[in-house]
Every structure is written in C-alpha cells, then in structure tokens.
C-alpha cells in the first residue's frame, strides 16, 4: 500500500504547495492612495504610503528635485482622514506652513487647506475626491483574485487522512490513538479557521495553507518519532494559531503596537534572565526552562518580540534614541544566548539584527562596525567553546573516515538516510534516522527526506523562500515602515533558521542545531513560527486578505 501512497503524497503536496506558491507570487496589490501632494506649478504626487519622506534624494517617497530642498527635507505622515503630521528633518532652508517656520524635530498637524513651503516652493496636501477614491477602489478590485482555499483545503485534508493510514501502516501497534487524533484536531482547526475568516469577508489564505501543510508534516514526523508527544505538539500548534490571530488583531492599530514595545522589552529581559538563572543544560545549550511538566524555550518566544522591538515607524527611524535602545536590547539578547551557549540561536538573532539595522539606517559603515565586533566575538567563541570549534573542523569533511562516525556522525546519517528516501520517501513511520539524536529537530531535513522523499522536502524549503519573497513584494504597497521591518525581520529569521538547519544537516555549513520553522518538533518553536506568520500577514495588502490590515474606510 505504501508503494502507491508515496506517489499520492507527492502529488498532493505538489498540488497544495505549488498552487499556494504560484498564487502568492503572481498576485500583486495595487497601492492604496491616501491623498495627493500638489506642488505649485509642478507635479501632482499620489501619496501611496502612510509615511513619506519629502526631499531631493531619489530614495524619498515624494521626490522634489530642486537644489533648494534638502535630501531628506521633511516627513509627512498620515494621521487620519485629511489629517497629516509634518515634521522638518533639520533641513537647511527649513519648512514653512502657512508662512510659519517649523521647529525642526517638532510635529505639526496640517490638513488640505494648509500651504507648505520648502526651498521657495509652495505645495499642498489634498484629499482624494470621492470619485478618485471610488476609482482607486475599483482598480484594487481588478487585482488578481487570491486563489480560493477550498480545493487546497480538501487536498490537505486528504493528505492528512492518508498520513493517518500510512502512520498505522508504518508503525503498527506502536502508533497511538492520541497521536492520530491530534492530526484530526489539526484538520478541524484548519477548516474552522478558514470558514470563520471567510465568513468575516476574508480572502487569500495561501500563507495559512502553507503553514497548515507544514504543521501536518510536523505532526507526522513527531508521531513517527515519538507518538506519545504528538498531543503536546498539537496543543502548542493551537496556542501558536491563537497567538497569530491575536497578533494580527493587535497589529491593526499601529499606535497601540508602538506602545507595547517597552513592555515587550521588559518581558523579554525577564524571560532571558529566568532562563539564565533557572535554565536546564541540555546537550551543550542551556536554553530550556522547566515549568511543571512542560519545558519551554524562552529564546524562541523572545524571537517573536525581538522583531516587533526592532520595528519602527518612519519617524522613529530618524530618532537616534530609538536606534540605541534597539541596539542595546539586541546586545543584551546575544550576550544571554552566548552565556546559554546557544550558538545557533545567537546567530539567528545576530543576522536578524543586522538586516533590521540595515533597513532602519542603511548605513553600511555602521553595519561594518557591528559586523567586525561580532566577528571578533565569534572568534572568541571559537576559542573558548571547543565543541563549536569541533563542529567547524568537521565542516566539509564529514565523509572523511575519521569524521564520519565522530564529529560528522549526524551529517553522514542525515545524508545517508535522506538519500535512502529517494525522491518519494519510504513512507511516514518507516524511517530509521529516528535512531539518531535530534533527528526530529536539528536533522529534520533528513528525517523528512527519508520518510517523505526529496520532492516534498524541497517543496518545504521553497515554502519558506516563497513567504519571504511575497513579504518583500508586498511591502511596495505597505502603509508603514513598521510593517516593512516586521515582514523583513520575520523573513530573515525564517530564512536564516532554514539555512542553518538545512545546510548544517547536510554539511554545507557547520552544524549549529536550530529548528526548521513549522516542521521541526518542538512546542515553543512551533508557537513562535505561527506567531511570526502574523508579521507576514501584516504585509499582505491584497484587498481583504489580511486580518492584520484594517479595512480602508
């Protein structure tokens, strides 16, 4: 039976993921138009973001190419219907509103009647007329519709049903009823989520479909590895989904989200300190704390907060205090992770910090400084942490006879069992990599390859790539830099995590022991993956596609 199933699984997975991937990559949202910036005797600029820089530099949103205007002259931020905040960014010739010179770095509220003067040029901000608003809305309706979720849902359900049968075929009496019921629960939650959202007028569920599919593979792998732990995994998944919905609602209100950041910093600091004090050392890294019967990995949850803390609205990006605050917090996080000896996670935080800093400032010299400091730090880590050094020494040599059963043990087994799976896999429950330590977490790439085949494994990696590409594509229609940074931060975390996980397991990079988003077994990691999906949803500017985006009226 497995012989036939293997083909069906691959066909279903390809259908589910390719439809979702193609739909995500082929739809593009037409930007919303919030008003017009009219230059006297000159051009008429549509304002497509909430946050805009006016200036001479090409990288400004409202580009007025006059020598009397500074590169980044002033900030124009939407504050509501016909309500704009204007702020001079310390320009050379100053900004005037109704003849009054603005104090640099002070906020002023203006509306459609007010006359702005910069470098001798007068301009006004005007509302979109009713007709234009209707036209814009009409244009947005012409955007390609996201794919309807129903066929994909049915395909995932079929995949889940067959997975249950296959697990029984593969594991026999070792399989437990609770493990199989967990997959049924996931299926029900998936239908409930989509039907509820659809009833609320939502569309565009590709990202959730991808996440539900990856979660199904997660439960299948967990069931194959240890049937007794599937219920816990499933509960973590429900918490993650709930958290994602909560974050999406929360993100609708930008001001509220901004205010919550100091609280998140406090909570993160406390969580990491608790981890440091009460943490359990497990296999080199002290990144677990035990709460009752549950073991929790605080650094995974801090990841979610880390991205929000790093995000900022455009105005904040010109505020040095905000930047220092973020850098200080990041340093604290990485120091804690170093003390915990969690090299992999530290690397994820570090890369995310670099990318977010780059987005915030784009200042390469500062990045270089940070990079150098971190490089030095890394070298020290190499010197002081022999086990990290040994991982680096095996890198690229895992098949050497003296490595293959020593420092390269995990990698050679990953590749050997993975290749044993061929393109179609041996069937869920039939794998043997499970006998190797961390097979269902750090070596998940090999685990999935052995049981599900190379094709499905590649598709899973492409899912992560697609989420990231989609995030980058959709920020073009974004409202605030806050969402841009959220999406890029989350994309970076997913990408780096996937790279470290996959490349480490197959010897393209030293093994660092991190999880594959959504797929690796591990409650906290799964919660974090689902929660971070909210950040991707927040960039989905397709009409009605995201709960995280408040409707236009």
């Amino acid at each position: 039976m497995t012989t036939v199933f293997r083909w069906i699984f691959v066909v279903l997975a390809a259908y589910i993921l390719l439809i979702s991937i193609v739909s995500l990559l082929s739809t593009r949202a037409t930007p919303e138009i919030w008003g017009y910036y009219m230059v006297e005797g000159g051009a008429n600029y549509p304002i497509t973001h909430w946050e805009n820089v006016i200036g001479r530099s090409r990288s400004t949103d409202i580009n007025v190419p006059l020598n009397t205007i500074s590169n980044n002259h002033a900030l124009l931020v939407r504050r509501g219907e016909d309500k704009w905040m204007i702020k001079d960014l310390g320009s050379e010739n100053g900004t005037y509103v109704n003849g009054h010179r603005l104090d640099p770095d002070k906020r002023y509220i203006i509306g459609s009647g007010d006359i702005i003067e910069m470098g001798g040029v007068r301009s006004t901000v005007t509302q979109t007329s009713l007709e234009e608003a209707r036209n814009n809305k009409f244009m947005r309706r012409l955007d390609k519709e996201p794919v309807a979720p129903w066929k994909i849902l049915i395909a995932i359900t079929a995949f889940q049903a067959l997975t249950i049968v296959q697990l029984v075929l593969g594991m026999g009496t070792e399989m437990t009823a609770s493990a199989l019921i967990s997959i049924v629960v996931l299926s029900i939650v998936m239908w409930a989520y989509v039907m509820t959202m659809e009833a609320m007028g939502g569309r565009g569920f590709e990202m959730e479909m991808i996440a539900f599919f990856m979660s199904t593979v997660n439960l299948a792998v967990t069931a194959s590895y240890d049937p007794g732990s599937v219920t816990k995994e499933m509960i973590a998944m429900l918490i993650g989904i709930a958290l994602m919905i909560f974050i999406m609602f929360f993100l609708r209100d930008l001001e509220r989200t901004k205010r919550v950041r100091p609280i998140l910093i406090g909570l993160s600091v406390v969580a990491l300190l608790i981890n440091l004090i009460f943490g359990n050392a497990e296999f080199g890294a002290t990144n677990w704390i035990q709460i009752g019967s549950m073991s929790v990995q605080p650094s995974e949850i801090v990841k979610v907060a880390f991205i929000v803390i790093g995000a900022g609205v455009l105005e904040e990006l010109y505020d040095k205090k905000n930047t220092y605050m973020y850098a200080g917090f990041s340093l604290f996080c990485m120091a804690c992770l170093a003390l915990m000896n969690d090299f992999g996670t530290a690397l994820i935080f570090f890369t995310t910090y670099l990318v977010v800093s780059f987005l915030r400032s784009g200042d390469f010299s500062r990045m270089a400084l940070t990079g150098t400091a971190a490089g030095a730090l890394g070298l020290m880590a190499l010197k002081f942490r022999p086990h990290i050094a040994s991982r680096f020494s095996a890198w690229g040599h895992v098949w050497d006879p003296d490595m293959m059963d020593a420092a390269g043990y995990s990698q050679t087994r990953t590749m050997s069992y993975g290749a044993g799976g061929g393109l179609l896999g041996l069937g869920a429950g039939n794998g043997s990599l499970k006998g190797v330590f961390a097979a269902n977490t750090d070596l998940i790439f090999g685990y999935v390859m052995e049981e599900w085949g190379l094709i499905i494994t590649i598709l899973l990696v492409l899912c992560i790539a697609t989420l990231s590409v989609f995030a980058v594509m959709s920020i073009m229609a974004g409202r605030s830099t806050f969402y841009t940074i959220l999406a890029c931060g989350a994309a970076t975390m997913f990408l780096v995590q996937t790279m470290l996980n996959v490349f480490g397991a197959v010897d393209l990079f030293p093994m660092t022991g991190v999880t594959f988003p959504f797929v690796s077994t591990g409650g906290t990691s799964l919660v974090a993956s689902w929660a971070m999906l909210a950040y991707f949803k927040a960039t989905d500017m397709r009409r009605d596609a995201s709960l995280a985006v408040r409707k236009e009226e």
Binding site: T2, T3, R6, H49, N52, V53, S59, T60, D61, L314, V355, F358, L359, G362, M404, D405, Y409, T412, R413, M415, S416, Y417, G418, A419, G420, G421, G422, L423, L424, G425, L426, G427, S432, G435, G453, L454, I458, V461, L462, I464, A465, S468, A471, V472, I475, G478, T481, T484, I485, C488, A491, T492, L495, V496, T498, M499, V502, F503, V506, L508
Partner: protein
Amino acid sequence: MRKQEKRAWICLAMVIVLVAGLGVFTFRFVKHGGEWATFYGNTQIYTDGQINRGTITDRTGTELLRCTKDGFVYSDDYMTRVSTVHAVGDPKGNVSTGAISRFKSQLIGYDMLNGTYDSTAGGKTISLTIDAAANRAAYEALGSRTGAVGVYNWKTGEIVCMVSTPTFDPADEPENADEMNEEGSYFFNNFLSGAMIPGSTFKLVTSAAVIDTMPDRDSFTFDCDGVNQLGDGDDTKLTDVYAHGTVDFREALAESCNGAFGALTREVGAKTMKKYTEKVGLTEPVDVDGIETAAGTFDFPSDNDVKLSWAGIGQADDLVNPCAMMVYMGAIANGGEPMQPTLIKSASFLKEIAGGKSLGRYLDAETADELRDMMKNNVVENYGEENFAGLNIYAKSGTAESGGVNSDAWFVGFTDDEDAPYAFVVWVKDGGFGSAAAAPIATYVLNTLEGGY
C-alpha cells in the same frame, strides 16, 4: 519609505542563498545519493555492519548468497561457497572484488526515485554471469594448487567461470585474517587482481606483431640447437627444452621454440613489441562492471638483444593480468574485436539480443584469422586433439619461469562452437608444464560448461 522598500532586497539575497544551497545539495544528492544511501551507517540496509537484503545467484539461478537481517546465508554446498567466494564476496569485506562490495547499490536496489524503498522487503536479486558448476569444476581441478581460471563468452562478454585459489569458506571465515594469509592471500583474486609472468602464452602477442610487420614471414626459418647462444657467456642463451631443429614461423609457435621467437622479436624490434603489447590491451586495466583489473607491465629494451628476446618470449620483466589475457583470446576468436567482460547478467532482454559491448579493434581481421589458424595448428601438432574430445579448441600453452621449484603453467585460448564460444585462461602456480598441468583443467571446465561432465 522608498528607502526601506529598496533595502528589502537583502531578504531576496538571502532567498537566493537558500535556493542556491538547496540546488547544490540537490546536485550532490543526484551525484552521490547511491553512495550515501549504501553507506554502512544506514541501518535500513545494514545490520551490524552487514547488508541485510539482496540475493546473489549464479547464471542458472542457483542461490549463492542471501543477505538477511540475521546475517549472510551462503549456499549449503561447501564447494560452491569456496569456488565462488572471490566473485560473491565475504561477510567481512576482505575480498575486494566481491559482488557484495562492488555491486552494493544494485544489491540494495537503490535508485534515485525510490531510494532504498523495497516493496518486496527482501532486496533485489543480482544474477552473476558465472556458472556455479563450472566454478566448482575449476576449483576441483585446481585442487590444492594456487591458480586462476577464467572463462568468458567471447560473443557476449559474460564471464561464466572465475576461480582463484587459495580460497576459503566465507561461511566459516576465521577471526584472524593474517593467520589465514600466511600461505598466500586467500582474499586476493588472482584472475582480476594478479599480474604474473606470461611465459610462452605471450608468443601470441609477438606472433601478432610478426604477422602485421613481416610480409616475408613465410620464408622465415630458424635452426634451434636447444641452446641458441646469442653472445658469449651463460646469460646470453635462449635455452629450449630440446633442440627443435629447423622450424618455420608456424612450427616455431606450435613447438613454442624460444630460439625462433627470440629471433622474431629482434626482427620485429623493441618499439613494435611495445606497440603491440599495448594494442592488445595487456598494459591497461580491464573494466569489469566497474572493477578494474590489475594492469600488466612489460619492458622491451632496444639496447639489450638478450633481454629483448626474452621479453618477446614472455619472460624477463613481463607481467600479465589473466583477465586481460583472456580478453585477448576473445579478440582473436572474434575477428580482432573483443567484448568487454562482465560479471552481472543483464536483466534486459534487448541488451541480451544486442550482445556484448565491444572494446574496440585489437587486431585486423586477417591477423586474427592467421593467429586462429596457428592456434588450431598448435592443438593438432602439439597438444593432441584427442585430449580435447568434443571441443573445437584453439590454444597456446605457457610455462613461465618464476623462480619457484616448478614453472608456472599456463593454458590460454578459446573454443568455437555455436553454443560454446568461450575464451579461457588457466594459470597454475608451480604447476610445471603448461600443456600438461593447465590444459586438463581447461578441458574439464569447458566440458562442464558444455554439459560434457
């Protein structure tokens, strides 16, 4: 915001790195997947370091080895086990030419689509081209002597008999391999991995050179006095067993006259000898389904007539691999174009029809025909056709002086029957005279193959 939008390219750059890495891995997967999957660490297919699935049979379907989760199960028959161990392999992997180690991925049944997935749970069956009965016959005929017997179908390339002695019982492999090897290498496959002095069998190579380069060879004669002094002193003799008297080219081969062949070699010259040795494939390894045989080595000095003469007679520094010699016999039998030897029986019907894979042209068809004729003459004039009843045989014997108590005996050649187109090589260390010691072994094995015994 445009600045931030533009800077988001950095995420795309990471996507490219991820996808590129995945591409590199996929490339490696395609290229090395078979090696990875058959790595001994894979417990799907290895139990305690031994392959746990797959069956090896001989060409008739006789089971030689079954790999199970409880270990290797060899044939019940002792003679079958010891005579096929060099083809099949041993549990400890000491026999490097064994099918267990060489055809691992076929045995496991790895392919890229299915990986090691096995719907039958018993692994794949690979049929070797060898005939267990012929192997037993060869082993029986060799007795306790060290030697090698190889026979292959010169039309299809299938090796039907491959035996190397000394040998051992793989079902009862001793713990201490060194102890076992005191009397010589039990694990060593003389046929595939050996290189030994060819003796007079090499005269078939010299003859090919003569045929191609001496148009006046029919008028060649030599007066053999049994000593054939070339210069002064003992070390310049081309001794023969007895004085052959006056011989022509044909008779020189039939009588295997060293004096005459020394003269022919000198006439042909060092350069041509070297060229012909290379041309007939004796200096390169033969590829047998990925197993490379040992390569022969030769030295034809242009400034030393005595040494050159001995080299043309198959002595001096000459070393030949038995398998390569067998392939040369196949070349003569097949009009100058030998088939590549193979050990795995093709499962494909089409391939069976198409026949073997040619190794290219070794000799011109006319040259091959003349050699063939002379080899028949050897049998008629020297070895006696009555000794090969029922076989249409063409052959050359060899008696190689290797410094042992006795000479090493060789008998090489082929048969040409519609149903039995076999090229063969027999080598017996310390066997004595080739025609006396090695020829009967060849006869016994060939008759077994043809159902004569």
